[in-house]
Protein backbone atom coordinates (compact mmCIF):
# COMPACT_ATOMS: atom_id res chain seq x y z
CA UNK A 1 0.00 0.00 0.00
CA UNK A 2 3.10 2.20 0.23
CA UNK A 3 1.95 4.84 -2.21
CA UNK A 4 -1.33 5.33 -0.41
CA UNK A 5 -0.20 5.51 3.19
CA UNK A 6 -1.27 8.22 5.51
CA UNK A 7 -4.37 9.39 3.70
CA UNK A 8 -6.72 11.56 5.70
CA UNK A 9 -9.96 13.13 4.61
CA UNK A 10 -11.48 16.14 6.31
CA UNK A 11 -15.20 15.86 5.84
CA UNK A 12 -18.55 15.22 7.41
CA UNK A 13 -21.36 12.71 6.98
CA UNK A 14 -24.14 14.94 5.61
CA UNK A 15 -22.07 16.48 2.85
CA UNK A 16 -22.60 15.10 -0.67
CA UNK A 17 -19.24 16.63 -1.56
CA UNK A 18 -17.48 14.56 1.10
CA UNK A 19 -19.22 11.47 -0.21
CA UNK A 20 -17.56 11.61 -3.61
CA UNK A 21 -13.95 11.17 -2.47
CA UNK A 22 -15.08 8.63 0.16
CA UNK A 23 -16.76 6.47 -2.46
CA UNK A 24 -13.82 6.83 -4.82
CA UNK A 25 -11.35 5.88 -2.06
CA UNK A 26 -13.53 2.89 -1.14
CA UNK A 27 -13.73 1.76 -4.77
CA UNK A 28 -9.97 2.03 -5.09
CA UNK A 29 -9.57 0.20 -1.75
CA UNK A 30 -7.44 2.95 -0.25
CA UNK A 31 -7.48 3.09 3.54
CA UNK A 32 -8.08 6.53 4.91
CA UNK A 33 -8.84 8.22 8.17
CA UNK A 34 -11.93 10.41 8.21
CA UNK A 35 -11.40 13.49 10.32
CA UNK A 36 -14.83 14.88 11.06
CA UNK A 37 -14.95 18.60 10.40
CA UNK A 38 -18.01 20.21 11.90
CA UNK A 39 -17.34 23.51 10.11
CA UNK A 40 -18.73 25.56 12.95
CA UNK A 41 -16.21 26.70 14.09
CA UNK A 42 -13.78 25.76 11.31
CA UNK A 43 -10.78 23.86 12.61
CA UNK A 44 -7.24 25.14 12.27
CA UNK A 45 -6.39 22.14 10.15
CA UNK A 46 -9.14 23.07 7.68
CA UNK A 47 -8.20 26.73 7.51
CA UNK A 48 -4.56 25.81 6.98
CA UNK A 49 -5.31 23.12 4.39
CA UNK A 50 -7.90 24.96 2.34
CA UNK A 51 -7.45 28.69 2.89
CA UNK A 52 -9.11 29.54 -0.44
CA UNK A 53 -12.56 28.06 0.09
CA UNK A 54 -12.39 27.07 3.77
CA UNK A 55 -14.65 24.14 2.85
CA UNK A 56 -14.67 20.36 3.04
CA UNK A 57 -13.69 17.93 1.71
CA UNK A 58 -9.93 18.24 1.94
CA UNK A 59 -7.73 15.28 1.18
CA UNK A 60 -4.43 15.10 3.03
CA UNK A 61 -1.76 12.77 1.67
CA UNK A 62 1.21 12.45 4.01
CA UNK A 63 0.12 15.60 5.76
CA UNK A 64 0.00 17.70 2.59
CA UNK A 65 -3.30 18.95 1.26
CA UNK A 66 -4.18 17.67 -2.18
CA UNK A 67 -6.38 20.30 -3.62
CA UNK A 68 -9.73 18.73 -4.17
CA UNK A 69 -11.70 19.71 -7.16
CA UNK A 70 -14.47 17.58 -5.67
CA UNK A 71 -14.21 15.20 -8.59
CA UNK A 72 -13.19 11.55 -8.28
CA UNK A 73 -10.80 10.14 -10.88
CA UNK A 74 -12.91 7.33 -12.30
CA UNK A 75 -13.24 8.06 -15.98
CA UNK A 76 -13.47 5.95 -19.12
CA UNK A 77 -10.38 5.47 -21.27
CA UNK A 78 -11.56 7.01 -24.55
CA UNK A 79 -11.20 10.83 -24.70
CA UNK A 80 -14.65 11.34 -26.19
CA UNK A 81 -16.32 9.12 -23.56
CA UNK A 82 -14.41 11.08 -20.92
CA UNK A 83 -15.72 14.32 -22.42
CA UNK A 84 -19.29 13.01 -22.26
CA UNK A 85 -18.81 11.92 -18.63
CA UNK A 86 -17.30 15.29 -17.68
CA UNK A 87 -20.10 17.09 -19.46
CA UNK A 88 -22.82 15.27 -17.48
CA UNK A 89 -20.94 15.61 -14.18
CA UNK A 90 -20.70 19.36 -14.79
CA UNK A 91 -24.40 19.49 -15.68
CA UNK A 92 -25.35 17.69 -12.47
CA UNK A 93 -23.05 19.74 -10.23
CA UNK A 94 -23.51 23.16 -11.81
CA UNK A 95 -27.13 23.06 -12.92
CA UNK A 96 -29.39 20.20 -11.87
CA UNK A 97 -28.41 19.90 -8.18
CA UNK A 98 -29.21 23.62 -7.77
CA UNK A 99 -32.61 23.13 -9.36
CA UNK A 100 -33.39 20.30 -6.93
CA UNK A 101 -32.36 22.49 -4.02
CA UNK A 102 -34.49 25.38 -5.29
CA UNK A 103 -37.79 23.57 -4.83
CA UNK A 104 -37.41 24.16 -1.11
CA UNK A 105 -37.35 27.88 -1.77
CA UNK A 106 -40.72 27.80 -3.60
CA UNK A 107 -43.38 29.68 -1.66
CA UNK A 108 -46.40 29.52 -3.97
CA UNK A 109 -48.00 26.68 -5.92
CA UNK A 110 -46.87 28.37 -9.15
CA UNK A 111 -43.27 28.56 -7.97
CA UNK A 112 -43.41 24.94 -6.89
CA UNK A 113 -44.81 23.82 -10.24
CA UNK A 114 -42.15 25.80 -12.12
CA UNK A 115 -39.36 24.36 -9.95
CA UNK A 116 -40.74 20.84 -10.37
CA UNK A 117 -40.89 21.22 -14.15
CA UNK A 118 -37.21 22.18 -14.27
CA UNK A 119 -36.25 19.25 -12.06
CA UNK A 120 -38.19 16.74 -14.15
CA UNK A 121 -36.78 18.08 -17.42
CA UNK A 122 -33.36 17.42 -15.91
CA UNK A 123 -34.22 13.91 -14.74
CA UNK A 124 -35.47 13.13 -18.25
CA UNK A 125 -32.12 14.29 -19.68
CA UNK A 126 -30.30 12.12 -17.13
CA UNK A 127 -32.49 9.12 -17.94
CA UNK A 128 -31.41 9.53 -21.59
CA UNK A 129 -27.79 10.19 -20.61
CA UNK A 130 -27.82 6.93 -18.68
CA UNK A 131 -28.43 5.11 -21.98
CA UNK A 132 -25.76 7.07 -23.87
CA UNK A 133 -23.06 6.79 -21.22
CA UNK A 134 -23.90 3.37 -19.84
CA UNK A 135 -24.20 1.69 -23.25
CA UNK A 136 -26.48 -0.97 -21.82
CA UNK A 137 -24.56 -1.52 -18.59
CA UNK A 138 -25.76 -1.10 -15.03
CA UNK A 139 -23.98 2.17 -14.49
CA UNK A 140 -23.38 5.48 -16.23
CA UNK A 141 -19.84 4.12 -16.29
CA UNK A 142 -20.96 0.99 -18.14
CA UNK A 143 -20.03 -2.15 -16.30
CA UNK A 144 -18.37 -0.31 -13.42
CA UNK A 145 -19.33 2.54 -11.14
CA UNK A 146 -17.83 5.63 -12.75
CA UNK A 147 -17.47 9.36 -12.61
CA UNK A 148 -21.07 10.27 -13.35
CA UNK A 149 -22.43 7.55 -11.06
CA UNK A 150 -20.44 8.95 -8.16
CA UNK A 151 -21.36 12.54 -8.98
CA UNK A 152 -25.10 11.90 -9.19
CA UNK A 153 -25.06 9.23 -6.50
CA UNK A 154 -23.55 11.56 -3.95
CA UNK A 155 -26.72 13.64 -4.10
CA UNK A 156 -29.08 10.70 -3.63
CA UNK A 157 -29.54 11.12 0.11
CA UNK A 158 -30.31 14.81 -0.35
CA UNK A 159 -32.65 14.00 -3.26
CA UNK A 160 -34.54 11.61 -0.96
CA UNK A 161 -34.72 14.28 1.75
CA UNK A 162 -36.03 16.79 -0.80
CA UNK A 163 -38.65 14.28 -1.94
CA UNK A 164 -39.70 13.83 1.68
CA UNK A 165 -39.82 17.55 2.46
CA UNK A 166 -41.46 18.70 -0.76
CA UNK A 167 -43.76 15.74 -1.37
CA UNK A 168 -42.42 15.58 -4.92
CA UNK A 169 -41.34 12.16 -6.23
CA UNK A 170 -38.21 13.07 -8.19
CA UNK A 171 -36.77 9.66 -9.09
CA UNK A 172 -40.19 8.34 -9.95
CA UNK A 173 -39.89 4.68 -11.03
CA UNK A 174 -42.88 4.97 -13.35
CA UNK A 175 -41.55 7.99 -15.23
CA UNK A 176 -37.81 7.24 -14.98
CA UNK A 177 -37.41 3.47 -14.60
CA UNK A 178 -33.69 3.30 -15.49
CA UNK A 179 -32.69 5.98 -13.01
CA UNK A 180 -34.89 4.62 -10.23
CA UNK A 181 -33.33 1.18 -10.65
CA UNK A 182 -29.86 2.75 -10.85
CA UNK A 183 -30.46 4.63 -7.58
CA UNK A 184 -31.33 1.44 -5.70
CA UNK A 185 -28.36 -0.32 -7.24
CA UNK A 186 -26.03 2.54 -6.23
CA UNK A 187 -27.18 2.55 -2.62
CA UNK A 188 -26.61 -1.21 -2.40
CA UNK A 189 -22.97 -0.95 -3.55
CA UNK A 190 -20.34 -1.93 -0.98
CA UNK A 191 -18.30 1.21 -1.55
CA UNK A 192 -21.39 3.35 -0.93
CA UNK A 193 -23.14 1.62 1.96
CA UNK A 194 -21.06 2.95 4.83
CA UNK A 195 -21.01 6.43 3.36
CA UNK A 196 -24.58 7.20 2.27
CA UNK A 197 -26.38 9.04 5.09
CA UNK A 198 -29.71 7.62 6.22
CA UNK A 199 -32.60 9.65 4.84
CA UNK A 200 -34.28 10.26 8.22
CA UNK A 201 -31.06 11.33 9.89
CA UNK A 202 -30.28 13.68 7.02
CA UNK A 203 -33.83 15.05 7.05
CA UNK A 204 -33.40 15.96 10.74
CA UNK A 205 -30.11 17.61 9.95
CA UNK A 206 -31.70 19.54 7.07
CA UNK A 207 -34.52 20.78 9.30
CA UNK A 208 -32.05 22.00 11.92
CA UNK A 209 -29.96 23.66 9.22
CA UNK A 210 -32.97 25.43 7.72
CA UNK A 211 -34.05 26.68 11.14
CA UNK A 212 -30.57 28.03 11.78
CA UNK A 213 -30.55 29.76 8.38
CA UNK A 214 -34.01 31.28 8.98
CA UNK A 215 -32.93 32.52 12.40
CA UNK A 216 -29.78 34.03 10.93
CA UNK A 217 -31.48 35.95 8.12
CA UNK A 218 -34.03 38.73 8.70
CA UNK A 219 -37.72 37.92 8.13
CA UNK A 220 -38.97 38.92 4.64
Amino acid sequence: MGKYEDVKLLGDWPSPFSMKPRIALNLKKVDYELIVEKMNPKSELLLKSNPVHKKIPVLLHRGKPVYMDFRPPILPADPYDRAIARFWAAYIDDKWAMQVRDINKANTDEERAAAAELIFAGVQLLEEAFQTCGKGGNWFGGDNVGYVDITLGSYLAWIRVTEKMSGLKILDGDKFPQLAAWADRFCAEEAVKGVMPETDKLAEFAKTLMMKLKAASPAK
Binding site: V52, K64, P79, Y80, A83, R86, F87, A90, Y91
Partner: protein
Protein backbone atom coordinates in the same frame (compact mmCIF):
# COMPACT_ATOMS: atom_id res chain seq x y z
CA UNK B 1 -6.36 14.53 -39.56
CA UNK B 2 -6.96 12.06 -36.73
CA UNK B 3 -10.64 11.25 -36.41
CA UNK B 4 -12.02 13.94 -38.68
CA UNK B 5 -12.39 17.66 -39.24
CA UNK B 6 -12.56 20.16 -36.38
CA UNK B 7 -15.23 22.83 -36.30
CA UNK B 8 -15.66 25.37 -33.53
CA UNK B 9 -18.88 27.29 -32.90
CA UNK B 10 -18.11 30.47 -31.03
CA UNK B 11 -18.56 34.15 -30.45
CA UNK B 12 -15.62 36.52 -30.93
CA UNK B 13 -15.79 38.14 -27.46
CA UNK B 14 -16.53 35.10 -25.32
CA UNK B 15 -13.68 34.26 -22.94
CA UNK B 16 -14.88 30.64 -22.90
CA UNK B 17 -14.54 30.42 -26.66
CA UNK B 18 -11.16 32.19 -26.61
CA UNK B 19 -9.79 29.58 -24.19
CA UNK B 20 -10.59 26.87 -26.71
CA UNK B 21 -9.12 28.86 -29.62
CA UNK B 22 -5.92 29.40 -27.65
CA UNK B 23 -5.65 25.69 -26.85
CA UNK B 24 -6.18 24.77 -30.52
CA UNK B 25 -3.57 27.36 -31.50
CA UNK B 26 -0.99 26.02 -29.04
CA UNK B 27 -1.64 22.48 -30.27
CA UNK B 28 -1.23 23.60 -33.88
CA UNK B 29 -4.63 22.25 -34.83
CA UNK B 30 -6.56 23.57 -37.82
CA UNK B 31 -10.26 24.08 -37.52
CA UNK B 32 -13.22 25.75 -39.18
CA UNK B 33 -14.64 28.59 -37.12
CA UNK B 34 -18.33 29.50 -37.09
CA UNK B 35 -19.25 32.87 -35.55
CA UNK B 36 -22.60 32.66 -33.82
CA UNK B 37 -25.03 35.50 -33.30
CA UNK B 38 -26.04 34.80 -29.72
CA UNK B 39 -29.27 36.75 -30.16
CA UNK B 40 -30.19 34.45 -33.04
CA UNK B 41 -28.50 31.10 -32.51
CA UNK B 42 -28.09 28.80 -35.48
CA UNK B 43 -30.08 25.60 -35.81
CA UNK B 44 -26.76 23.76 -35.86
CA UNK B 45 -25.70 25.13 -32.46
CA UNK B 46 -29.05 24.29 -30.89
CA UNK B 47 -28.85 20.78 -32.29
CA UNK B 48 -25.25 20.24 -31.15
CA UNK B 49 -25.71 21.62 -27.62
CA UNK B 50 -29.37 21.10 -26.77
CA UNK B 51 -28.75 21.03 -23.00
CA UNK B 52 -27.12 24.44 -22.61
CA UNK B 53 -27.52 26.05 -26.08
CA UNK B 54 -24.23 27.89 -25.57
CA UNK B 55 -20.89 28.43 -27.21
CA UNK B 56 -18.25 27.10 -27.42
CA UNK B 57 -19.12 23.79 -29.04
CA UNK B 58 -16.35 21.80 -30.70
CA UNK B 59 -17.36 19.38 -33.41
CA UNK B 60 -14.75 16.67 -34.03
CA UNK B 61 -15.92 14.71 -37.06
CA UNK B 62 -19.52 14.10 -36.09
CA UNK B 63 -18.99 14.29 -32.33
CA UNK B 64 -20.00 17.45 -30.50
CA UNK B 65 -18.31 18.47 -27.25
CA UNK B 66 -19.68 21.30 -25.10
CA UNK B 67 -18.46 23.16 -21.97
CA UNK B 68 -15.09 24.91 -22.38
CA UNK B 69 -13.30 23.02 -19.58
CA UNK B 70 -14.52 19.71 -20.99
CA UNK B 71 -13.42 20.74 -24.49
CA UNK B 72 -9.95 21.72 -23.25
CA UNK B 73 -9.42 18.36 -21.57
CA UNK B 74 -10.75 16.56 -24.67
CA UNK B 75 -8.32 18.40 -26.94
CA UNK B 76 -5.45 17.69 -24.56
CA UNK B 77 -6.28 13.98 -24.27
CA UNK B 78 -6.95 13.44 -27.96
CA UNK B 79 -3.66 15.05 -29.03
CA UNK B 80 -1.52 14.27 -25.95
CA UNK B 81 1.89 14.59 -27.58
CA UNK B 82 1.40 18.00 -29.17
CA UNK B 83 2.12 20.76 -26.66
CA UNK B 84 0.70 18.97 -23.57
CA UNK B 85 -1.48 21.31 -21.55
CA UNK B 86 -2.13 19.35 -18.35
CA UNK B 87 0.83 18.26 -16.20
CA UNK B 88 1.45 14.55 -15.59
CA UNK B 89 1.91 14.62 -11.82
CA UNK B 90 -1.43 13.84 -10.06
CA UNK B 91 -0.93 16.38 -7.28
CA UNK B 92 -0.16 19.07 -9.80
CA UNK B 93 -3.16 18.09 -11.91
CA UNK B 94 -5.34 18.37 -8.82
CA UNK B 95 -3.89 21.81 -8.12
CA UNK B 96 -4.54 22.89 -11.74
CA UNK B 97 -8.15 21.73 -11.61
CA UNK B 98 -8.69 23.39 -8.25
CA UNK B 99 -7.49 26.77 -9.53
CA UNK B 100 -9.51 26.33 -12.73
CA UNK B 101 -12.61 26.00 -10.59
CA UNK B 102 -11.48 29.00 -8.60
CA UNK B 103 -11.43 30.86 -11.90
CA UNK B 104 -14.96 29.91 -12.89
CA UNK B 105 -16.59 29.83 -9.45
CA UNK B 106 -15.00 32.91 -7.91
CA UNK B 107 -12.94 35.07 -10.25
CA UNK B 108 -15.23 35.19 -13.25
CA UNK B 109 -18.45 35.90 -11.30
CA UNK B 110 -16.70 38.74 -9.48
CA UNK B 111 -15.83 40.35 -12.84
CA UNK B 112 -19.44 40.07 -13.94
CA UNK B 113 -20.54 41.62 -10.63
CA UNK B 114 -18.48 44.73 -11.42
CA UNK B 115 -20.09 45.00 -14.85
CA UNK B 116 -23.52 44.64 -13.32
CA UNK B 117 -22.98 47.07 -10.45
CA UNK B 118 -25.71 49.70 -10.68
CA UNK B 119 -24.62 51.99 -7.85
CA UNK B 120 -21.56 52.89 -5.82
CA UNK B 121 -22.31 50.41 -3.02
CA UNK B 122 -22.62 47.47 -5.41
CA UNK B 123 -19.51 48.57 -7.27
CA UNK B 124 -17.49 48.80 -4.06
CA UNK B 125 -18.66 45.37 -2.95
CA UNK B 126 -17.84 43.84 -6.33
CA UNK B 127 -14.40 45.48 -6.44
CA UNK B 128 -13.77 44.23 -2.90
CA UNK B 129 -14.46 40.68 -4.02
CA UNK B 130 -12.18 40.97 -7.03
CA UNK B 131 -9.41 42.25 -4.78
CA UNK B 132 -9.92 39.32 -2.39
CA UNK B 133 -9.70 36.88 -5.27
CA UNK B 134 -6.63 38.56 -6.70
CA UNK B 135 -4.98 38.39 -3.29
CA UNK B 136 -5.55 34.63 -3.19
CA UNK B 137 -4.03 34.29 -6.67
CA UNK B 138 -1.15 36.58 -5.75
CA UNK B 139 -0.40 34.50 -2.64
CA UNK B 140 -0.56 31.32 -4.70
CA UNK B 141 1.88 32.67 -7.29
CA UNK B 142 4.23 33.92 -4.59
CA UNK B 143 4.16 31.14 -2.00
CA UNK B 144 1.89 28.38 -3.24
CA UNK B 145 2.27 25.28 -5.37
CA UNK B 146 3.26 27.27 -8.48
CA UNK B 147 5.71 29.64 -6.80
CA UNK B 148 8.78 30.68 -8.73
CA UNK B 149 7.34 29.70 -12.10
CA UNK B 150 7.15 31.89 -15.15
CA UNK B 151 3.77 30.38 -16.00
CA UNK B 152 1.48 27.99 -14.12
CA UNK B 153 2.63 25.49 -16.74
CA UNK B 154 6.26 26.25 -15.81
CA UNK B 155 8.33 27.48 -18.77
CA UNK B 156 5.47 27.13 -21.24
CA UNK B 157 1.80 28.01 -21.12
CA UNK B 158 -0.29 25.30 -19.54
CA UNK B 159 -3.92 24.47 -18.92
CA UNK B 160 -4.27 26.85 -16.01
CA UNK B 161 -2.57 29.71 -17.86
CA UNK B 162 -5.13 29.37 -20.63
CA UNK B 163 -8.11 29.38 -18.26
CA UNK B 164 -6.95 32.10 -15.86
CA UNK B 165 -5.08 34.10 -18.47
CA UNK B 166 -8.09 34.75 -20.67
CA UNK B 167 -10.18 35.61 -17.61
CA UNK B 168 -7.47 37.95 -16.31
CA UNK B 169 -7.26 39.65 -19.71
CA UNK B 170 -10.99 40.30 -19.50
CA UNK B 171 -10.55 41.52 -15.94
CA UNK B 172 -8.25 44.20 -17.35
CA UNK B 173 -11.03 45.14 -19.74
CA UNK B 174 -13.60 45.29 -16.96
CA UNK B 175 -11.41 47.45 -14.71
CA UNK B 176 -10.94 49.87 -17.60
CA UNK B 177 -14.68 50.09 -18.32
CA UNK B 178 -15.60 50.47 -14.65
CA UNK B 179 -12.63 52.75 -13.93
CA UNK B 180 -11.26 50.52 -11.19
CA UNK B 181 -7.67 51.11 -10.17
CA UNK B 182 -6.01 48.01 -8.76
CA UNK B 183 -2.77 49.90 -8.22
CA UNK B 184 0.47 48.04 -7.70
CA UNK B 185 -1.14 45.70 -5.21
CA UNK B 186 -0.72 42.44 -7.12
CA UNK B 187 2.79 42.45 -8.63
CA UNK B 188 3.18 38.68 -9.19
CA UNK B 189 -0.24 38.51 -10.81
CA UNK B 190 0.51 41.52 -12.99
CA UNK B 191 3.85 40.19 -14.19
CA UNK B 192 2.38 36.75 -14.93
CA UNK B 193 -0.43 38.37 -16.92
CA UNK B 194 2.02 40.50 -18.86
CA UNK B 195 4.07 37.42 -19.77
CA UNK B 196 0.88 35.61 -20.78
CA UNK B 197 -0.32 38.46 -23.02
CA UNK B 198 3.15 38.74 -24.61
CA UNK B 199 3.09 35.19 -25.93
CA UNK B 200 2.74 35.17 -29.74
CA UNK B 201 -0.09 32.58 -29.71
CA UNK B 202 -2.03 34.67 -27.20
CA UNK B 203 -1.58 37.80 -29.29
CA UNK B 204 -2.75 35.96 -32.39
CA UNK B 205 -5.89 34.58 -30.73
CA UNK B 206 -7.12 37.41 -28.50
CA UNK B 207 -9.06 40.20 -30.23
CA UNK B 208 -7.51 43.70 -29.98
CA UNK B 209 -7.88 45.00 -26.42
CA UNK B 210 -9.84 48.10 -27.39
CA UNK B 211 -12.47 45.96 -29.14
CA UNK B 212 -12.88 43.96 -25.93
CA UNK B 213 -13.21 47.19 -23.94
CA UNK B 214 -15.84 48.48 -26.38
CA UNK B 215 -17.71 45.21 -26.20
CA UNK B 216 -17.69 45.22 -22.38
CA UNK B 217 -18.75 48.84 -22.32
CA UNK B 218 -21.71 48.07 -24.56
CA UNK B 219 -22.54 45.03 -22.45
CA UNK B 220 -22.55 47.14 -19.28
CA UNK B 221 -24.74 49.77 -20.88
CA UNK B 222 -27.29 47.14 -21.87
CA UNK B 223 -27.26 45.57 -18.39
CA UNK B 224 -27.79 48.94 -16.70
CA UNK B 225 -30.55 49.87 -19.14
CA UNK B 226 -32.47 46.76 -18.14
CA UNK B 227 -31.98 47.31 -14.40
Amino acid sequence: MDGGELKLYGMWASPYVLRVRLALKLKGLDYEYVEENLANKSAALLRLNPVHRKVPVLLHGDRPIAESAVILEYIDETWPRRFPLMPTDPRERAAVRFWCHFGSDKMFPSLIAILRSADEAQRAAAVGEVRENLKLLEDELREGFFRGRRFFGCEKLGFLDIVLGVDAHFLRGVTEVAEVDLGEDFPSFTSWLREFEAQPEVQEVLPPFDTIVDFLRGHRRRILAQA
